[in-house]
């Protein structure tokens, strides 16, 4: 009923599955990571819920990014410096 706040509501701009290519990549990475590590999907989802609770105003897919980052760091898969240095690729895997 209320007009959605621009920051909190990712708009569907016509992409079939994702609002922006990087959302697709975030999903792809999360799925691949969870799959490779043999984790239940709920493990990622719990981190996602924690990130959202920590900052409810943050856009949903930004919380995804943070949840992925925390999982990667906690599982010793990368260091914060390495993540900072990583250059974003232009081509999404999907």
């Amino acid at each position: 009923m209320t007009l959605p706040d621009d920051d909190s509501l990712p708009r569907d701009n016509g992409n079939l599955v994702f609002d922006a290519p990087w959302h697709a990549r975030a999903l792809g990475i999360a799925v691949a990571l969870v799959d490779k590590l043999g984790l239940p999907w709920d493990a990622f989802r719990q981190r996602l819920m924690d990130e959202i609770a920590a900052d409810p105003q943050r856009p949903y897919y930004d919380s995804w990014g943070k949840a992925l980052e925390s999982m990667v760091l906690d599982l010793d898969l990368a260091t914060p410096a390495a993540l900072d240095a990583a250059t974003p690729t232009e081509r999404a895997p999907l």
Binding site: T2, L16, V17, D19, A32, D35, I52, Y60, P93
Partner: protein, 197 residues
């Protein structure tokens, strides 16, 4: 298309047609089947009505969450980790003793994937799409849900970005149940609105 192309007489079997377009896309590097397989498996396994059921059970047991859900369903559902593709603009509509809600997409098959998964066949086929907006009370009765004449039926045709989820009424006699037990009772069909619990 070339005007002088000679069309084969016989229709190619569906599997052959699928293989034809798929092979073209793979050869041109447009489709990486290994990468996408993981995504499709995720959509099949991790998205489904068990997610929506958790939203419903939480709404039944947590009045503040229910208020949030009815006011801003997208944010409330996101907070449980159930956002994502085709869930970017959610609206939850509540069943009451006076009102029964039912959701359809007459133009195609729009459906809230993160909370209900991929839609069932009947939801996407002409009979449901044509009749849900025309004679919902009769259709519901045929599908096993009798809605008496004093109850208003509200049909929601998902013709734009919004995706609708029905919040069914909590069944009587469930006061002592845990949230997990409650969630286990909630069916996909009750969240589309073709069934009562």
């Amino acid at each position: 298309m070339a005007a002088d192309h000679h069309h084969p007489a016989d229709l190619a079997p569906i599997e052959a047609r699928v293989a034809a377009i798929e092979s073209v896309l793979v050869e041109k590097g447009i489709l990486d089947t290994d990468a996408v397989d993981a995504i499709v498996t995720h959509l099949e396994e991790n998205l489904g009505p068990m997610n929506g059921a958790q939203v419903v059970a939480r709404a039944w047991t947590d009045p503040a969450f229910k208020e949030h859900l009815l006011d801003d369903a997208t944010a409330a559902i996101d907070s449980l980790g159930f956002g994502g593709p085709q869930g970017e603009h959610m609206v939850v509509v509540e069943n009451t003793p006076e009102v029964h809600n039912i959701v359809v997409c007459t133009l195609c098959s729009c459906y809230p994937w993160p909370t209900l998964g991929l839609p069932p066949k009947w939801y996407k086929e002409p009979a449901y799409r044509a009749r849900a907006v025309r004679e919902p009370r009769k259709l519901l009765a045929e599908m096993g849900t009798l809605v008496s004449d004093d109850v208003e039926i509200r049909v929601w045709d998902s013709s734009s970005e919004a995706r609708y989820l029905v919040l069914p009424m909590r069944p009587d006699g469930t006061d002592e149940m845990s949230i997990g037990e409650l969630a286990a009772m909630v069916t996909r069909d009750s969240m589309i609105g073709v069934q009562r619990l």
